[in-house]
């Protein structure tokens, strides 16, 4: 079952470290959000495979917006 990765805070997507189909392990970097001059790394909450990515570099996201899914 796909697990949604949500934005932990509002911010701009600075970089995305994975691509659809990548296998990731828990605590691997998925993407970086920039907010309040600080960079927050979003880590994989569990082992899985990247199913889809909705976050785009440069995109402004709100807290709890979906960023990607892990299968």
């Amino acid at each position: 079952m796909a697990e949604e990765v949500l934005a932990p805070l509002a911010g701009k997507v600075l970089s995305v470290a994975v691509a659809v189909g990548d296998a990731v392990e828990e605590d691997d970097e998925l993407l970086v959000l920039e907010a309040m001059k600080m960079e927050t790394v979003v880590y994989a909450p569990a082992d899985g495979t990247v199913g889809s990515i909705t976050a785009q570099v440069g995109q402004q996201v709100e807290e709890d917006d979906p960023l990607m899914t892990l299968d």
Binding site: P8, L9, V24, E25, D27, M38, E39, T40
Partner: protein, 577 residues
């Protein structure tokens, strides 16, 4: 109080391979800074004559004396790179730090006899005052290795006079003695003038057989013939006088042991002096370790090497402070004070070698919806808000009441700004924290993990704004400045840029100035600069941090000036409810 302290709340988690992999580049960057610091330290230690040359004269170097004197594995150097006036010698010419002698902590300081026979240099008195302040704050002995040829005369105007000039340490010795803190001196070589007072001002004077100390040395005694200037004939006369001088230098052991008795003891061998210091150290007051241990000492549950993966070199990257702390304290255990309030700071009781300490540190990252409650903008860790300031005020006050030494960990971008923050009283609460710290009268140490910025660097136990900071450490990620360089460039040049733009002129010159300022801020805020200027007392490897925490707590609990019985402590009860 066993239920409180024997096993406290475990925290932290083991690093996953993904985190280690992701942090690899940052870890390399941190280790590269550490390597640069290590090179600078080596250059300082190798300044002056080579060790072999000193040894060939029958003398030990100050480093060899320290090595013999201090218990193996207990030396914690401080101020190694300190050189605030940028002396060409690369140092202030004293070597100091915390170390154990015969199992007892002391502040140990010695003149570097490889450089100008241990002369006074610019910036040295400030270095010495840091050592005397440290002994006073920790209430532990100050041990001197005196070998001081007096002032570097061509630069005397930089250090001889003034309120904190080269003579200041002499009355500081008197102050320590008034406070019941002994100052021991092992005395070597020729110590005229300033060196003479360096020798006479301690409490117990142990001399090597070839040592002397005097108000003035041979140079002055044999050569004074003031005529308003010099010519060849006069210099030739001086040379003749100097060559003809065959007498003893004033103030040798025949005078100051046999006649005045100022030298308590005289030793044939250099090591004999150091053995004498050890003997006196054995006679010092010191509580046994069990007296203040609330529990058996434990190593942290996680390896200290993890710190390289956990502390990002990138100052903008968010990390988990709690994971850092879990690598430093006994058993990775704590009693957290008010975890549901002021989320931007951790406050809690931890153990170092079984002894209780209060720990305070900035938490990083987003602070959650609705925080800070007084504003419509999100709260971000590293910044201080109303609740965090109130929490720290409460916590240090309780630490003072329970006589717990405090360890601060800073990574702060400042106190919240703006009208809403002013209405939330952050200005008063920040200064209130300075007041709260002052009234605790407990020893504190500070680790500037990464950023030490704005007034937050002052109020969070910083050395600038309180007397209780025993010493401050930097790390390879440390950056200390009033604000970030980019912020400073905006504050300095934004109006000018607007003016130039309105006038239709090119913005390039302003942009160049802004970038120059950013670059200057970068250069003057990095670890080596902070160490040279004394913003921190030492930059240490991340793997050394726990050792320094152990030295601090061991020294703070060696002979404290006041005690709170553990069963009378309030803080653990307030935490547990």
């Amino acid at each position: 109080m066993k239920p409180y302290f024997e096993t406290m709340d475990r925290f932290g988690k083991a690093l996953k391979p993904g985190r280690i992999k992701r942090g690899a580049a940052s870890a390399d960057a941190l280790r590269e800074v550490e390597a640069g610091i290590a090179d600078a330290v080596t250059a300082v230690e190798e300044a002056g004559f080579p060790t072999e040359k000193i040894n060939a004269r029958g003398w030990m170097t100050v480093y060899q004396r320290l090595d013999y004197l201090v218990d193996t594995g207990t030396w914690h150097p401080l101020h190694t790179l300190y050189n605030p006036l940028e002396n060409e010698e690369g140092k202030t010419n004293v070597v100091d730090g915390l170390g154990q002698i015969e199992g007892r902590w002391a502040v140990v300081i010695g003149f570097d006899n490889k450089v100008m026979a241990g002369a006074w240099l610019p910036g040295q008195s400030e270095n010495i005052l840091r050592a005397t302040d440290l002994a006073a704050r920790l209430n532990i002995p100050l041990v001197w290795l005196v070998n001081c040829s007096g002032a570097k005369l061509p630069e005397q105007e930089k250090f001889y006079a003034n309120r904190r000039g080269a003579g200041t340490p002499f009355y500081r010795h008197a102050e320590l003695e008034q406070a019941g803190i002994p100052v021991l001196a092992g005395i070597y070589g020729t110590n005229p003038a300033g060196g003479g007072y360096q020798s006479i001002s301690p409490t117990i004077l142990l001399a090597h057989k070839d040592a002397n100390m005097a108000v003035g040395g041979v140079g002055i005694v044999s050569g004074m013939a003031p005529k308003g200037g010099f010519d060849t004939a006069m210099v030739e006369e001086l040379i003749a006088k100097a060559n003809a001088f065959t007498g003893r230098p004033p103030g040798d052991v025949a005078t100051h042991h046999d006649v005045t008795g100022f030298f308590t003891r005289v030793y044939e061998e250099e090591t004999g002096v150091l053995d004498g210091l050890k003997e006196y150290m054995r006679a010092m007051p010191a509580y046994g370790s069990m007296f203040f241990q609330a529990a058996e000492p434990k190593e942290p549950a996680f390896p200290i090497d993890d710190l390289y993966s956990l502390l990002p070199a990138n100052p903008k990257e968010v990390y988990d402070f709690d994971e850092i702390l879990a690598r430093l304290v006994d058993g990775s255990e704590r009693l957290e004070f008010r975890p549901d309030y002021g989320p931007e700071v951790f406050t809690g009781v931890c153990k170092i070698d079984g002894r209780l300490v209060g720990c305070i540190g900035n938490r990083q990252g987003y602070l959650g919806k609705g925080y800070p409650g007084y504003a419509d903008y999100p709260g971000m860790g590293g910044k201080l808000y109303r609740q965090g300031l109130i929490k720290m005020n409460e916590f240090v006050t309780l630490c003072g009441r329970d006589r717990l030494p405090i360890v601060w960990f800073q990574d702060t971008s400042g106190i919240d700004v703006g009208e809403l923050a002013e209405k939330a009283e952050v200005l008063g609460l920040g200064q209130g924290l300075i007041y709260s710290i002052q009234q605790t009268d407990v020893p504190m140490m500070l680790v500037v993990l990464r950023k030490g910025t704005a007034a937050a660097h002052y109020v969070m136990g910083g050395p600038t704004a309180n007397r209780h900071n025993a010493f401050t450490l930097g790390t390879p990620a440390t950056e200390i400045e009033v604000m970030h360089g980019e912020t400073a460039a905006v504050a300095t040049y934004a109006r000018r840029a607007a003016k130039e733009h309105a006038a239709g002129r090119s913005l390039d010159p302003v942009i160049d100035k802004m970038n120059e300022l950013v670059e200057r801020y970068h250069k003057t805020s990095r670890p080596a600069y902070c160490a040279r200027q004394g913003f921190v007392d030492e930059v240490v490897k991340l793997t050394e941090l726990r050792r320094y925490l152990q030295a601090f707590t061991g020294a703070a609990y060696q002979n404290p000036t006041s005690i709170c019985p553990r069963h009378h402590m309030l803080l653990p009860r307030v935490i547990r409810g």
